[in-house]
């Protein structure tokens, strides 16, 4: 199975190198993994020399934003880069801070190989150590997204997900910052229901949820989203609604 991993990174080169070493170590279990790393304007920049070397089942493509634009923008750059390559069987989005596990990547990839177009990771079914404050925020976010998108999922804003080629080609991320997770879900929901603006009504996407175990540590919590980030997400969604025009 050929897997493209889309991985944004900002200002944490040590965690990135550790994460990539972990993927490289177990890439052969998945098949053939190419990681599209997009350095979102880190200072100092991510250096190719500090990344693990490729082997028979592991490769890295490195791109760099000249300015920090946000995780959504970096993911979209990685998506566009991956789509320029020969098609992969699976396109997965993964965080660079090591909180996502290789066995879960394999499970997500297998879900796509089994016929799903989008596999959303579900932290509440796996053995994730989600902090209690984060649980409350995610519960509210889940209800908000279920109402907004009309697609009922058990988790919200989980960055660990996988797509088939035809799904990743249809999802275009326009939210530069953290609202991209809601935007992805909105687009997937539209394409799954064949709703307004969907590519083809007869060719709707099949969506599944896969249990994943996300490892929260002091470092990942310090570097990642804060619970107050929910306000910024609402603001960005509102700005896109106001100024973004029709999609």
């Amino acid at each position: 199975m050929r897997v493209a991993v889309l991985m944004p990174v900002w200002n944490d080169p040590d965690a990135l190198a550790r994460t990539l070493r972990g993927i490289r170590h177990r890439a052969s279990e998945v098949g053939d993994v190419t990681v599209f790393v997009v350095d979102d304007g880190s200072s100092p920049p991510v250096l190719a020399a500090r990344l693990p070397p490729p082997d028979a089942s592991f490769r890295i493509v490195l791109a760099r934003h000249a300015l920090n634009l946000g995780q959504g923008a970096a993911l979209e750059t990685a998506r566009k880069l991956a789509l320029r390559d020969t098609p992969y069987d699976v396109y997965a989005t993964m965080d660079a801070d090591g909180q996502h596990r290789m066995e879960d990547l394999r499970a997500l990839a297998e879900a796509i190989a089994s016929g799903a177009d989008v596999a959303f990771g579900n932290r509440f079914e796996g053995a994730s150590n989600i902090p209690s404050v984060r649980r409350v925020v995610l519960f509210a976010a889940r209800i908000f997204e279920n109402v907004l998108t009309g697609m009922r999922l058990s988790d919200a804003h989980n960055g660990f997900r996988a797509f088939s080629y035809r799904a990743v080609a249809r999802v275009q991320i326009r939210q530069n910052r953290m609202a991209h997770a809601t935007e992805i879900r909105q687009q997937v929901s539209r394409e799954a229901r064949g709703g307004k603006g969907a590519a083809r009504r007869t060719d709707s996407l099949r969506v599944v949820e896969v249990p994943v175990s996300v490892r929260y540590t002091a470092a990942t919590l310090a570097h990642g989203q804060t619970s107050l980030g929910a306000i910024a997400i609402l603001r960005d969604l509102f700005h896109r609604y106001l100024f973004g025009g029709s999609e």
């Binding site: 070397p53 490195l62 566009k80």
Partner: protein
């Protein structure tokens, strides 16, 4: 003239002086527009009866409301227009930064410690820059 009028007029004069002192080259026309607006505002502060008479003439109770109503409407509109411009500029900036990143993306080959990186291939007939297949 009330103490409040004196303070407000002093503030207007102080702001005008500051903007004149820090005026950039080519900023004369903007400063002239600012002068006209500030002098008109200063006149309404110094002679509040003028604003009250104008307000009564158009059916508004207080002179200050005569000034505030259009000002609030204008500020809300200005805020929305400037936010939309910022949004559009951010979109353009994103596209430029992304195009540069994709153009300069490299595939890491062999021992990375040797700095062996390769660009993602030449532009094809359609002008797109395709990565070589494995």
């Amino acid at each position: 003239m009330t103490p409040a009028s004196v303070i407000l007029l002093g503030l207007v004069a102080g702001l005008l002086f500051f903007d004149f002192a820090t005026m950039r080259k080519g900023g004369r026309r903007i400063f002239l527009v600012e002068c006209v607006a500030f002098v008109a505002g200063g006149a309404l502060i110094a002679f509040p009866d003028v604003a009250t008479r104008l307000a009564h003439a158009v059916g508004i109770g207080r002179g200050v409301d005569f000034v505030l109503y259009p000002l609030v409407i204008w500020l809300v509109r200005e805020s929305l227009v400037s936010r939309r411009r910022r949004f559009e500029e951010a979109e353009r900036l994103t596209e430029i930064v992304r195009a540069m990143a994709i153009e300069q993306a490299v595939r890491i080959e062999g021992r990375a410690s040797g700095g062996q990186v390769h660009g993602l291939g030449q532009s094809d007939a359609h002008g797109t820059n395709r990565a070589p297949s494995h």
